[in-house]
């Protein structure tokens, strides 16, 4: 009966503020939507242009046929002996194998060193050292790849690779792989360290309490417990290495003009990314549309590979999150 009657205006709040809130929400929604739309448009144009490139191989236009030596173009041009878009030679395995070689070399460098650095930071370094080193590591991850590419071109190639192997020139897939490896070490170390830090300290204490030394605890308890995170780190780094462009463009020495198929890391070679870069920058001297569009086809292949790797890595990261 005497209950106070609530004035409607008290709960209405300030309409200005409510409107402002709505506007801010709309701005962020647009920002999120825009980034999604842009990504979709990029993928769309990639697929569309790659499709029109494949269409050209099946139904070759006149200007493309004029560039060939034998006047023939078919899908088999995707599986020939070299990558030479100027002459309508689009051997995708030349690029694919070069990319794989560079990535294997890179991961052979970045995997062990990055993991070792992560174990040191997570298990051995004192909190003070870690506080200093972890940010330094993350800054290292931000070194522009062109700097490392130049380093690989001018120092790793001539002074390391050419010195160790007589048959190798100043530019080689090996030199590029080592450069990419250096580039990816901080990435491997940083993600692996995060994975290992997320292993609860209670497990380390339990292990130490049973008379395990630090090395045993690190390798038998912490590493297995963090394994999904470590695998994720490795996959993300692999995907980064495959997608790395500037280092291989500078140091691998394969011009997009004509790259020969090779299985030897000591040879020069063009990776998928390097071939795309040289074509996009026009150093290939391609004139016809069909040759230029091969760039999109390679891009689509690259996209599928890295997307697959990222999806797999994401699965592993989810698993490590669920575990504790």
């Amino acid at each position: 009966m005497t209950a106070p009657v609530l004035d409607q205006n008290l709960l209405a709040g300030n309409p200005k503020r409510r409107n402002k809130e709505k506007t801010v929400g709309a701005i962020f929604t647009v920002a999120a939507g825009l980034s999604l739309v842009v990504s979709l448009l990029i993928v769309g144009s990639l697929v569309f242009k790659a499709g029109s490139f494949l269409g050209d191989l099946i139904n070759p236009p006149e200007d493309a046929l004029a560039e060939t030596r034998d006047g023939m173009i078919s899908l088999s041009n995707l599986w020939s002996e070299q990558w030479a878009p100027r002459f309508m030679q689009f051997d995708i395995k030349t690029l694919l194998v070069a990319s794989i070689i560079v990535t294997i070399v890179a991961m052979a460098v970045a995997g062990p060193i990055g993991l070792g650095a992560a174990i040191y930071l997570s298990e051995y370094a004192s909190p003070r050292v870690r506080r200093i080193l972890k940010p330094v590591l993350e800054v290292l991850a931000g070194i522009p790849s062109v700097v490392l590419g130049f380093f690989a071109l001018r120092w790793i190639g001539p002074n390391v690779v050419a010195n160790m192997f007589e048959s190798a020139g100043n530019q080689s897939l090996l030199a590029a792989g080592l450069g990419v490896g250096l580039l990816t070490i901080p990435l491997v170390a940083s993600i692996s360290e995060d994975a290992m830090r997320s292993v609860p300290n209670a497990l380390r204490e339990a292990s130490a309490g049973l008379g395990a030394r630090k090395f045993t605890t690190s390798t038998k308890i912490v590493l297995p417990a963090a394994v999904s995170g470590l695998v994720a780190a490795f996959i993300v780094a692999t995907s980064r290495a495959i997608g790395e462009t500037m280092v291989v463009f500078l140091a691998a020495g394969g011009s997009g003009n004509s790259a020969q198929f090779t299985l030897s890391p000591l040879d020069r070679g063009a990776t998928m990314t390097a071939a795309m870069a040289s074509q996009a920058s026009g150093t290939d001297g391609t004139i016809v549309e069909t040759a230029f569009n091969s760039l999109f086809f390679v891009g689509a292949v690259l996209f599928v590979i890295t997307l697959t790797l990222n999806v797999i890595a994401d699965r592993f990261v989810r698993r490590v999150r669920q575990q504790y």
């Binding site: 609860p200 309490g209 049973l210 008379g211 417990a225």
Partner: protein
């Protein structure tokens, strides 16, 4: 204050000390533990006797766990932790220059507050310690069974030794941790509030288990639960905190250490009496 403590220890247990001196397996004398410049617990005298359960009770922050962790050098893992005074185990100074903390922990095992099984199978949890101690694999099956039986867990898990330990209940996990600790055949078992994360039924099982383990091991247990200390322990150390009027920091100190019956029925110190009768803490 210090005066009172010395008196209570000396007066009440001189007889025991003389009679049972040879049974002292671990002696804590004049021990203070520091974290950096902060003294967490000071001037503790506490002989631990073989095949007894020694309980450490007292309010939060009085340094019981800190002291317990210094008994097998677990505090070495914490940066800045430091022990002053003397802790001897079978007459050997645990903090002596030639002592390897890893060897110490193999002989003085530990069970923690929260069950912390490894994310491995039940069997691998048990064999982890023996494996690193170099015990031949051929002995594992028997060792696994014996350890699990000692921890009263065998019947519940014997059919799923290869299942993940994380699938066990909290009480089972804690008994697994006890089984894991005794698989390395330690002399002394340190238990840091082993039942605080468990329900009353699981707690009861662990308390029964401690009574059984007593014949083979020496147990030092930290507990928040006074009834538990009264039920399970043979001797009881009561700690309290004193607040420094200048720095406002709390330092733990040992008030009274005696037979459990005496601590709970006729304590020498007023503070002990207030605590055990529930007037404080």
């Amino acid at each position: 204050m210090t005066e009172v403590r010395h008196m209570s220890v000396d007066e009440t247990s001189t007889e025991d000390l003389v009679a049972e001196d040879s049974s002292v397996i671990m002696d804590v004398s004049d021990v203070s533990v520091y974290y950096g410049s902060f003294r967490a617990v000071r001037d503790v005298h506490m002989p631990v006797r073989q095949h007894e359960i020694t309980a450490m009770i007292g309010p939060s922050g009085c340094g019981k766990s800190t002291l317990l962790r210094s008994l097998n050098r677990m505090n070495d893992l914490i940066e800045g932790a430091r022990v002053e005074g003397m802790i001897t185990y079978q007459g050997i100074d645990l903090y002596g220059p030639r002592v390897d903390p890893v060897e110490v922990r193999r002989r003085i095992g530990m069970v923690f507050q929260k069950p912390n099984p490894f994310p491995k199978s039940i069997e691998e949890n048990i064999t982890f310690g023996p494996r690193i101690a170099g015990i031949p694999k051929s002995e594992f099956p028997e060792l696994v069974e014996r350890s699990l039986r000692s921890a009263a867990l065998w019947d519940e898990v014997k059919d799923r030794l290869n299942d993940s330990a994380l699938g066990l209940s909290g009480g089972q996990q804690q008994r697994l941790c006890i089984a894991r600790a005794i698989a390395t055949k330690p002399d002394i078992l340190l238990m840091d509030e082993p039942c605080s994360a468990l329900d009353p039924i699981a707690t009861g099982r662990i308390e029964d288990l401690m009574q059984e383990l007593k014949s083979d091991y020496t147990i030092v247990i930290v507990t928040h639960n006074m009834q538990q200390a009264a039920r399970v322990s043979d001797r009881c150390a009561f700690f309290t905190t004193e607040v420094d009027s200048v720095s406002d920091r709390r330092t733990g100190q040992l008030v009274e250490y005696d037979r459990t019956e005496k601590i709970f029925s006729n304590p020498a110190d007023e503070r002990t009496e207030n605590y055990v009768t529930g007037r404080f803490g």
